[in-house]
Symmetry: D4
């Protein structure tokens, strides 16, 4: 099994982001082997898309060392970092059904030390839900916006605020919305300028993009006298 | 040539809408033959998607009897009906680029006797453009909403007003928006309830749907003491 | 959990349609929290796409307050409104397999106070089934037409009657028809003018579009001396 | 150039159908070389999808030996066969815009000796156009039915008559109908049993399928005492 | 339940083919109601896509009156017709995996009185399997050819024999072949002339097309002195 | 014409980005009317996707006030702002063919006051081209990476550097790459974490996303003592 | 059952590759019948895509004669050949999740006598994992490269080494990567020249292509004095 | 302009294949700059997809140094290499319309020193055209097979011969075949084992894959005593 993976322990040093384990397409045996290697270094690692059945199939000593979130199917193995930043990122989602993706983003941010805030169910079908919180939203320099179905929320938000907008289309919906492609295409085709997006349901990726941005901001600050 | 078409002169009697000529896929010779048949009955007919080159290839006596709109590529052959209704339908469009489709709807409505109003360039990238006119929009019981790209406008409008909303996705855009499928899918997947839609760029069809609705409303009124 | 949803209690006042709960992508815990909030206001709410397993996972006090329809997977929580209108909307479906979607539309209409009529299995493979009932169909000003596979029924109906036609493509079929896209595209491309459509299997949305239309007709009647 | 093609002069002997030249993707030089080879055998050959520009680029001696139909872009090089059968095949088309495809089928049938009849513009938006001719249509054992857009006509025809139905989807339409895929899918998903289909705009192929069927019928007749 | 279906008992009289029940999208309760109606007339009916679980859920008196084929998921309720024709149709399939679709065609043909022959696993990867049986295949005037994956078999067969070729793409395959679209497209794009096709996995439809053809041949024979 | 557009002059105040004119889907007459309105306020505006033919059709006084770049089809009408920032954004492109999209990004950044650097033709087919410049690339906190075809460059870059990565898929390529969807999907599916993307060929949008990010960084700097 | 398959026992003689059984779309009964026929000749055969449930449903005497690999779902029935070649083929995979496809290739190669080497988890997100092993990779004349998601690995490898590159896209991923089409398209659109590919997840096919290549090399060696 | 490209002059040393210029997406100015750089080194370079209009727009001194093939739109700038190998590769194409792609492959092979043979118009609609040349085809260890439409030829060839088969789907066809995707999918889904493929119309890529294979064979020969 050990010839089936090569952990990239110096990824954070190189790109500012630790490697994470995409658990969906790995067997429990493969994941156990990876966790053994992490444990051997007294390390920690984030796992995404780990469902409860696969969690239950892991070695007991791994299961007990895991902080698991069933809503987002994310797991943190090993110690969590201390909070290093907060108040900089809001994770907004259009509907209650988008919460699992939003929580994947929140957990990824938190794993890397950033405490972000959830602002949920502010989709445009009831525009007052958004406008009543718009001043609060404006205070965050970085916004992760998760939305499925027609994904109109990122367009409306990006037309109202100056923050960086990272959209995450979700697979919520049926018919033409099934799988999230309608949401993805609406976001890419947005009439509001400057929205960047990630893959469907990729809360993890949106969080990483936000972290790259925070790191870039920190570098620019350091470079300025 | 006369064996190549069968005009449906009693369509209005049957369904409340006159037959129109979809000119795009017909030759100038076919259109001339159709217009000869219409002229022989002293009738009138609407032509859609008639480009200027094909217009120029028609018989001179047909060209001169045509009222042509180059923006929407629509033509009215023969006399226009008097206005029979007004103030009931607004044709709203998200961007300046959607105006040709909006004008196709306006011309179709007008050909059938309904004077409708254009409300243009109120897309959600600058939400104030919409909200500043929302009271005016609320006054119309029937709204035709044309939008391309991410087509967020119909969702936002339908979340704000009680009128009947007939959306028309347009083919404005590029990349994933090319051809209008992103707009169509966003409209069909809308989180705002009760939006009905027609084919991409089908301003004619949206107008017909609005006319069916006006006729239905008239029937319901007559049926009520 | 309460930070994961924001109920839009004034939606009906604003757009004439109450908010409904799209249950498919929500957890039982989320739905229970929503129903608690509704119950706290002595309200009522419609749930769509609630399967029997999720129904069974709800709190007992919620289950017993629900009127459930297993065919359409719709649930009404709280008291049903009195019937306010009838004889205005027919829900027609092409085949027996389209009945679940038709019933979703009927239940949504009824929840909002409109008693509509089901006319089932009149697809065009046996055209007499339709033509034998066409006079009955003509009496309804508003027609919701559900059809899967090739969805030829809305075209034929719209060519025969003057009523407003709201089509609902269904996902009935296999091969190229799987998922309902063939039906959706056939409806959008219909040669019969003035058909408006909603998303695949969206009986709820078709009912809402019909309700918007009825409201618009009522407004127009009031505006006319 | 002569190493770029291998004519299949014994195809008719083998499968009952002569080889034809699909001109669209061949250069004028390639077509000239093929016609030289055909002329050297005093043969004849059918060319499909030969546009007027390419026709004009052929050698003069080839052009003058060609009977060209600009509507269907078909050309017959060399002598036409005598009529060997008639009254057995009707080519029906839904709209005037489908006539070019219908004529490709008619010309292919005629080239192989079968005189077929055109029945045009009987699409279902005005169902009386079809029903008024249905007895005439019933008399033909073999029906080629060309239709674009929603292609509801083949379904309705196949629900009314017992003849063999070979459908040809056409690329007439725009938006979701562009390119003919909506028509193709509607035909394949038809609720009426026993429709067989060919590629979009393939009037030639539909005629060949009809010819195979006529040959099969002749064989079955011969095999029966 | 009885308002959810309208049986088309005169379909055979009209189009030469009896109605069949597409069981996949119907509930056991709906199917039971249909079978009650058929039994009340002492009739018989074919059911397609009836899986074993749904069969087991039918009323016992219906189950015992059914002749079920688990390979093709077809069921015949009521008496089978006597054999009226044979030796006219061969059902050829490319691989062993295509047998279920082939058997659906064979069972449909047999239900309507036509005894057809199965020629299996003659795909082109081992061309000798086809060529060694080609003389046998040539004897059948009508060929139903089922093939999945790349579906090269119909092209090769149609290039070798003069019979009518009705192809059935199957959903056998994975990756780009998943669902059968690659097979369908290959068949529609075939370089061999005169292949007609039906929907993916539609053995029933191919059989019906073959039956229409046999009926057409019988009519032509009767019409010839 | 003036009822066809509503300029959003306060967009920059609201979201930090000025409105731009998407010229592709607008007529020369519409663009002239917009430029008149801009000129009336002594303003400036950026136009994207303005081809040379449409440029030539504008009013002479508008043409002469335009700074046009034929490679990227961008135009600046009115005075250019002074440079406000530099050395913060690099626009990297995989191949020479991606330069037009890269220049659209560069021009948009420059119009808004940011001087960015072009690093061209460093695609992964010759990895040394990238690795030889990687230290230079690492110095930029924000990277816009344009790539067509297989778009492997953003993945490789994002695996090597810590900067924020905004990818722009381009429509360069043919076959499965035609239109840029293969590039878009490869970017969205990247195995390297934290890449955000915009629509195909949307150099303008990538620049806007970079500008939002720079503004966010400035806000965070101001918020930090 | 024996009329449902025709084994191609002389395939190896003809094309250098033995027939294998694609088990996914075959019933256990069909597979048992095939194995009986193989056993009757004292032969051996490879089975692909045989899941554990189907394995368990085979006849006991077949199960015990099978060497099964649960990771790749491949089975060898009968005796394995001796190793005839080695050190010529490396099977490289981008991630741990691609190992099942890689093992299908390795097992297929081994079944036909070629011992190949696995080089796993060298995807480009951590480029050092690839570059640190590049000299080892360069030693193999033939490379099978399996990659899912964005499939950037084949492009990077093909830009670095001269060996023959046979890529296998895998279905690893979600959102736009689901099913492997993004990986397939990225490989086909690669900017690195000379990559050939096979179907998604087709480790078997990639091994066969490698074997054809080894056979071709052997023939060329024999042909050279 | 010189900052817009970086020539990879050591590509051949690295991967055995020289860089070529994909001219389709480059401007004449960009190509001229590249040719200047090549000329400055007294080098040579292959250009693909260079149409006649762009050729005519190049600098006169470049045009005269180019050997141009209008059929395949390929150009060789600078001296051609001597022939280094022959009789090892055949380029087979299914139809006359596939010749341009076949010639792109032949020219690419020849540019790199390999003389290959064209075997044209042997598609399976007339199987004798293939079988009559099959012994000749068997003599080539490497086969490039170009086919459009249903692309059945590679499957049939790969079932008959042991050589390495590199398929090139072509965009020849219309309807579902338009653009070459049907051909590509048929090839990928082939039931014949061991076919490897390249992008649609990518004759250049197929030649490069063949060259990699020849190089691999040469290395294996050298490695064998």
């Amino acid at each position: 099994m050990s010839d089936e993976f090569v952990l990239d322990f110096r990824r954070e040093e190189r790109i500012g982001l630790e490697e994470a384990v995409f658990a969906e397409a790995k067997s429990a045996a493969q994941i156990d082997a990876i966790l053994d290697a992490v444990a051997a270094r007294d390390g920690a690692i984030l796992l995404t898309r780990l469902d409860e059945a696969k969690l239950a199939a892991l070695k007991p000593e791994h299961r007990t060392a895991i902080d698991y979130c069933a809503v987002s199917c994310t797991a943190v193995f090993g110690p969590m970092r201390p909070v290093a930043g907060s108040g900089r990122v809001a994770v907004i989602c259009a509907g209650t059904s988008d919460v699992p993706v939003a929580r994947e983003a929140l957990r990824t941010l938190r794993y890397q030390g950033e405490e972000a805030e959830l602002i949920a169910d502010v989709g445009v079908a009831g525009l007052w839900r958004l406008t009543s919180r718009i001043e609060e939203i404006r205070r965050f320099p970085v916004l992760v916006v998760a939305a499925g179905m027609d994904a109109a929320l990122p367009s409306v938000v990006a037309g109202l605020v100056a923050g960086a907008v990272i959209a995450v289309p979700t697979s919520v919906g049926y018919g033409v919305a099934a799988g999230g492609h309608a949401a993805l295409h609406a976001i890419l085709a947005s009439c509001a300028p400057g929205i960047a997006t990630v893959n469907i349901d990729n809360g993890y990726g949106a969080a990483c993009a936000a972290l790259r941005l925070l790191r870039a901001a920190e570098r620019m600050r350091e470079a300025t006298p």
